[in-house]
Amino acid sequence: MYRQEPAKRVRAIDSKKHWAGVDFKQLFYPHRLNFYNTPPTTEITLDEFEQWAIDRLRILGEIESCLYRNMTAAELQDVIIKKLQKDLLPLGANSAAGGGSKFQDSKIAKQQDERRKDHYSHYTLRLAFARSEDLRKRFLATETILFKLRYNSDDTQERQAFIESLGFDWEFLSVEEKVAMREDLLAGTGTKSNEADAVFEAGFFRVDWEKVYDLVDQRKVLLRGGKAYVPESQQSSLVIAEFTARLEKALEACLLPPQVFSSRRRNRSLTISTQLTARALPRLDEDDRLIPILNHLSRGFIAPEYNTSMTATTLNGASLTAAVIDDLVQYFPMCMRQLHTTLRREKHLLHNGRLQYNLFLKGIGLSVDEALIFWRKSFSRIDDDEFQKKYRYNVRHGYGLEGTRRNYKPMSCQQILTDRRPAANQVHGCPYREVAIDNLVVGLGTMGVSDRDVIRHVREDIEAKKYHVACSRVFEHTHAKELKREKEAGGWSGGLTENIIHPNEYFTRSFGLKNPGSVEATNAIAPPASGGSGQSMEMD
């Protein structure tokens, strides 16, 4: 953990005299849910400032890694709300703390403390993550999910009270309008006939479609003339969209260019005040205690990435040449086999396929010179001139030698699954997602997977959209012998349950298992920073 000097633990001193005229009364939190419209106004200790933020960060980090593993909403709910939140950031409902007796008063006090922690930690992380666009996006995404999970687990009545407190003006359809549009309204929401009456009775309201773009995204709402006709049951997506929109705006406001701010804060107290959004940053810059904390916090939120610098040892020092790629295909995950096979068959690969495969090869340790030889030979139907003109640049670009000279990382499963889905004539992407199941089974056969049980499980994984699980399952099956041996030897601490989240990880593991002793203890995948523990906060 980040250590503090004892001297800095001093409770923040009274700053009211410096902020004459500003009302700093303690906020009362009537609801469990919070839109975080109002910045905190009262002081907290530096310990609280940091510890609360770290607790929240662990939750957000876990959300991110759950998403990464393609968990379903129900699984997320279980992991985050039932397990993590309970320890790190509990939030009791009003109903849990009636009112009246002394005992209940203390319960209310506890509940208010919980809500205050939720409130402050949110704002601290806002500050920490407002600094780069990437962090901002991830903060926005994970906070939205946290809100959604809480929203869905909230008591119905308390949730309704919370919604009413937000003061949206939703335009409800009159009975006549509703009747006139009945068929379209129901079809628009995909309502089956057995539920039609109930949905119809509950009512619909009309909003600009942008407000419910997630429903538009899923084609689950009727659109007419730029308005969406939303069934009352879908109120949640409106609320959540509003939460996201407001938070996004607030995060952008954090980015306003620093303004000169009068130096009233000479008193060294720590006040998370109303200035904490737009104008807090320059103020905080002066505070030598906060900046390191914020820096640590933002660094604690780093996604697992394949670290190419580690791969020099992948093949035990032997340098890779273009000629040996064909021999290595046996260790490739299906996505890369598919690209390789297509390349050999067609003597060509389309742009996105080249991109995915080139970075993968770079990741396994193929040098740029060898990569150029590999691609040049593979594209055997074209002449040198055309290759130089059309493809050389792209290969080198992937190695960070052209253009912006960005060092592109090999694509992770997540990127492969979500970036640029393949069009009709393309073969990149994740085959577990993109290839029709019957063709996939044929492909599995060529990898030596014909066990009916395994295939059945793979089918189920795919139906549940857990493509990486399908891939991991295939890995386990095709490496069963080696994994068993390894387990018996107690060599690998990763356990038998493989969880492939990166094609290069697949390769490294596969090669290592099939060629014991050849791979040094590669730790090629940086551990997810969240990892369910706070240890990643220590790095500096």
């Binding site: 942008e210 084609r219 730029g226 004539n425 993109e434």
Partner: protein, 516 residues
């Protein structure tokens, strides 16, 4: 990750004009200028110092007709520096009108393209289209342009305070084509000196790209870069389906369809509301509209639930009418029994499929029209007991959608900062001008008859020969480009009218609040 502008691949050369027309004896009057009679190149125009009165909406029509003067008002010393010296400009000015195209020039001959920019490219309407107002503002000045030069170099983040400066730079660089990107929060040319957070895309038209290569597994008439009138039907019907959704569902009004010059069409949705959509909302629209999903090896590409969403049932109605003619008769995709397997793959009942297979094996090369009818007829004989008639009907609907529903290139539409080729560019391989498609008469558009750059220059030549010199007629009016430019102008006027309304609303009565 990847450069959104990675070169298009697998380029084939289809129907490029064979022989150029005569230009060697061109005898043009040096006064003729492209589309703006008052907009002659003259960098020595004195900068006017008085700021202009903000145009009241009522004056828009007049100002538009007046030509280049407004643009020059904002010219200052800085811009002069920016674009080199006067000699450079004189050199350009002297070239206007002095057209002599060597015999044997192709459509991508630099001299041909340059002449096209000089004499025909409608810079003024393009400026108004992107500027949303008669007076140059950030909507134009902070807009990214990207040029593909004749040597294939690619220049991004170009921007221009005025139309005249854009025009001058295009004549100087003579790009083989150029693309239009978003309006940024600051001048794209300053991006390196700005903090990252101060430079980000603010708005851009919502765009769509439909390309016939995405129909290769379906169309039988052509493949790759080749097209004919039969496969253009896919585009025509796609435009109809898209228009209905964009207008009736999403509430957009200003939708411009543009021929992409070879084998597809682009849509530019220009409403203010569309321009300000962020990536998440663009993605939502793409997913709302996108129906045909999955790569080359995916089996069934249309997966929808019932009841059909009103957008899908409406689309289906639009498509059904054309299915028999466009698909069954003209494409005839299942005539080969091997290819008919693709139809069977989409049907729900194995026993029925076996019966159909048997029947078709006895009738090799049975036309798709008959095979399609067979599906019902054989089903009616009760060959399969387990057959669910409702499911069969649904499958048939899904077949229609899989074969005719618009196939969108999703990546183009999802991102605010994606660049798209400007209307009225010339396609380097075909020489065809990327003209707007008049959506009131979609059936009349024939991509094979779209104007080519060489044809147009020949038309100017012919017109000049037949008419007296004194007549002052814009070059584009002498050519078959005229209806397309006129259509574009009408479109832009409609947009400007609405835009003025929006502005008036926003600014209330405070007349002087426009920013420059």
């Amino acid at each position: 990750m990847s450069d959104p502008n990675s070169p298009k691949e697998d380029i084939a050369l289809p129907d490029a004009p064979a022989t150029p027309q005569e230009f060697q004896d061109a005898d043009f009057d040096s006064a003729s200028d492209s589309d703006s009679p008052a907009g002659k190149i003259d960098v020595k125009t004195e900068p006017q110092t008085d700021p202009p009165e903000p145009a009241s909406p009522a004056k828009i029509e007049i100002k538009k007709e007046e030509g280049g003067d407004l643009d020059n008002i904002f010219k200052d010393e800085e811009e002069e520096d920016f674009f080199g010296d006067d000699d450079d400009a004189d050199f350009l000015a002297s070239e206007v009108g002095a057209v002599s195209i060597a015999p044997g020039s192709g459509p991508s001959d630099p001299q041909v393209i340059l002449t096209f920019y000089q004499r025909l490219f409608p810079f003024r309407p393009l400026f108004q289209w992107l500027n949303h107002s008669p007076i140059p503002c950030h909507d134009f000045g902070h807009r990214e342009f990207a040029f593909t030069l004749q040597n294939s170099a690619y220049l991004r983040y170009q921007s221009f305070p005025t139309m005249e400066l854009l025009r001058k730079e295009i004549l100087r660089l003579n790009p083989s084509r150029f693309e239009i990107g978003p309006i940024y929060s600051a001048n794209p040319r300053d991006r390196k000196t700005l903090h990252k957070s101060a430079f980000h895309p603010l708005s851009k038209e919502l765009v769509f790209d439909i390309d016939l290569t995405d129909y290769d597994e379906i169309r039988t008439c052509c493949d790759k870069a080749n097209i004919c009138n039969l496969c253009w039907n896919f585009i025509t019907v796609a435009i109809k389906v898209m228009n209905a959704a964009l207008r009736d569902d999403l509430g957009f009004k200003h939708v411009l369809w543009v021929y992409s010059g070879r084998r597809g069409a682009h849509a530019w949705i220009c409403d203010k509301r569309a321009r300000s959509l962020d990536d998440a909302k663009r993605r939502a629209i793409v997913n709302y509209l996108g129906l045909v999903k999955g790569g080359g090896q995916a089996g069934k590409k249309v997966n929808i639930w019932r009841p059909l969403h009103p957008h899908i049932s409406r689309s289906l109605n639009l498509l059904k009418d054309r299915f028999e003619n466009d698909i069954l008769r003209e494409q005839d995709p299942w005539r080969d029994n091997e290819r008919a397997e693709k139809l069977l793959q989409l049907l729900p009942d194995k026993t029925l499929n076996d019966a159909l297979r048997k029947k078709w094996d006895n009738h090799p090369s049975r036309p798709s029209l008959n095979k399609w009818a067979d599906v019902y007829d054989v089903a009616k004989t009760g060959v399969s007991e387990g057959l669910n008639p409702a499911r069969l009907k649904e499958s048939r609907e899904e077949v229609v959608l899989e074969y005719m529903y618009p196939r969108l290139d999703a990546e183009v539409s999802k991102h605010l900062n994606h660049l798209l080729k400007s209307p009225f560019c010339v396609h380097p391989q075909t020489g065809r001008v990327c003209v707007p498609i008049d959506e009131r008469d979609l059936g009349a558009f024939d991509p094979m008859a779209a104007p080519t750059v060489l044809g147009l220059l020949g038309e100017i030549d012919a017109w000049d020969k037949a008419h007296k010199r004194e007549e002052k007629v814009d070059d584009y009016e002498k050519t078959s480009l005229k209806p397309y430019v006129d259509y574009f102008k009408t479109f832009v006027n409609g947009l400007l009218r609405d835009e003025a309304g929006v502005k008036r609303e926003r600014e209330g009565n405070s007349g002087n609040s426009m920013e420059f």
